[in-house]
């Protein structure tokens, strides 16, 4: 009897990993999914924070993809370990603070370890030659196989015929002829394949699945490191960078102002960690102050927050200042005018 071969697929929740896993599953391979949570994933959090009353279901696409495939999914929290990838990427950053090549090597290495621990035979990714400028190039894709330690156990079903045959292909566990030779950034072949498999709904995030590829997000992270004098972060820090307007009126503090109700609810959850500002006399957003502040700073922050409330054109509005310990007091201030908010405050 032939041995049932088992593959673990890196499932991001996007179309490529769905198709890659499906292609291998079609060949009779038992597939399980693995999904790594770095803290920078676009997936999930942003949807959970914003548009709370939106019509679209607030689903996790990696779970949804796994359901479509009928496979188990193992979600792995790599927040702590991943920091070293972000702080010291051996192969550098991309256009922003995205360490894509180091990231891919790291994730494939983790998947390879998982394979060894769980008696799986090989790894599948949805990578396509030429699709991403850093980690998915003809010259860097072999590096990922090599530097991760996965070597020829890493199979990219969508691009396999553009790459040297891997062990699963050489050993006949999978038929190379039934794998694809996609390359480039066009999405048309993937969409055609999705139609062939009957997948009508799938996620195709335009900027990938990581906030570090986003210029604005990266600039806020760089600001955080500069303000703190070291390249460190905790999960709450990087979550808060995804939410609200961030303005830094002075080097030693910044103000995070909710842009809508969902963000307001999210920021409210941090009132025991940060000094917060709410509007008393008019409707307005909640805001957090990040940094050590004195009375003058608090007044400036309150005036700034009032600028984004309904009382922005009033001579005076009343705000509520709340300390992390729960003590609160009212503060009457004059909202800042738009002209008094320098562009460089906005991160």
């Amino acid at each position: 009897m032939t041995q049932q071969r088992k593959a673990v697929a890196l499932i991001s929740g996007g179309l490529d990993s769905l198709l890659a896993a499906k292609l291998v599953q079609e060949q009779g391979i038992h597939v399980a999914g693995i999904n790594f949570f770095t803290g920078f994933c676009v997936e999930g959090h942003t949807h959970a924070i914003r548009r709370q009353s939106g019509d679209k279901p607030k689903r996790n696409n990696a779970l949804w993809v796994s359901e479509q495939l009928g496979i188990k999914l193992h979600i792995v929290d790599i927040i702590e370990e991943y920091k070293q990838v972000v702080f010291n990427p051996k192969y550098g950053y991309g256009a922003n603070l995205n360490p894509c090549l180091d990231c891919k090597i790291f994730m494939v290495r983790k998947a390879h370890q998982w394979c060894q621990q769980n008696d799986f035979d090989f790894i599948i990714t949805g990578e396509v030659v030429g699709q991403r400028p850093m980690s998915q190039r003809k010259d860097t894709m072999p590096m990922v196989s090599q530097k991760s330690g996965a070597e020829d156990l890493l199979l990219r079903p969508l691009s396999a015929r553009n790459l040297p045959a891997t062990l699963p292909e050489r050993e006949g566990w999978v038929d190379r002829e039934k794998l694809l030779g996609l390359s480039g950034r066009s999405r048309k072949p993937q969409i055609a394949l999705a139609n062939r498999f009957g997948f009508e709904e799938y996620a195709q995030p335009a900027g990938g699945c990581c906030f570090l590829t986003d210029a604005k997000y990266s600039s806020k992270l760089a600001d955080l490191w500069q303000a703190r004098g070291s390249r460190q972060y905790e999960l709450d820090d990087i979550m808060l960078l995804k939410v609200g307007r961030h303005l830094r009126p002075k080097p030693h503090f910044k103000v995070i102002i909710a842009r809508e109700e969902g963000e307001g609810n999210f920021l409210r959850g941090y009132r025991k960690q940060y000094l917060s500002i709410d509007s008393l006399s008019h409707l307005g957003p909640i805001a957090l102050i990040d940094g050590e502040v004195d009375a003058q700073d608090i007044e400036l922050a309150a005036r700034l927050v009032a600028r984004y409330g309904k009382g922005r054109d009033q001579a005076q509005v009343e705000m509520e200042i709340r300390t992390p310990a729960g003590a609160s007091y009212p503060l009457k201030i004059e909202p800042l005018t738009a002209a008094k908010i320098p562009e460089q405050w906005l991160l």
Binding site: E43, G44, A48, L63, E67
Partner: protein, 76 residues
């Protein structure tokens, strides 16, 4: 039998699922698990995770700002 309670409040997707996944791995089949969340996405994600991993959702409900899922651990 009293359910095992997982407090996943203030955690956003996928952290509530990770908490459930890691705790359930330590429990035997048949155990009831009650998960309390503040992320509305948990009402989709935890049942979805249960379906693909062979666990059963016994109940899910919401109050004004909290979401509750009760599941029964499957054979795995």
């Amino acid at each position: 039998m009293k359910p095992v309670v997982i407090d996943a409040r203030r955690l956003l997707c996928p952290m509530p699922v990770i908490r459930v996944q890691n705790r359930v791995a330590e429990l035997s089949a048949g155990t009831l698990v009650k998960v309390v969340c503040s992320d509305p996405g948990a009402l989709n994600d935890i049942p979805s995770w249960c379906r693909i991993n062979g666990h059963r959702v016994v109940k899910s409900s919401r109050t004004e700002d909290e979401y509750l899922v009760v599941l029964q651990v499957g054979e795995g």
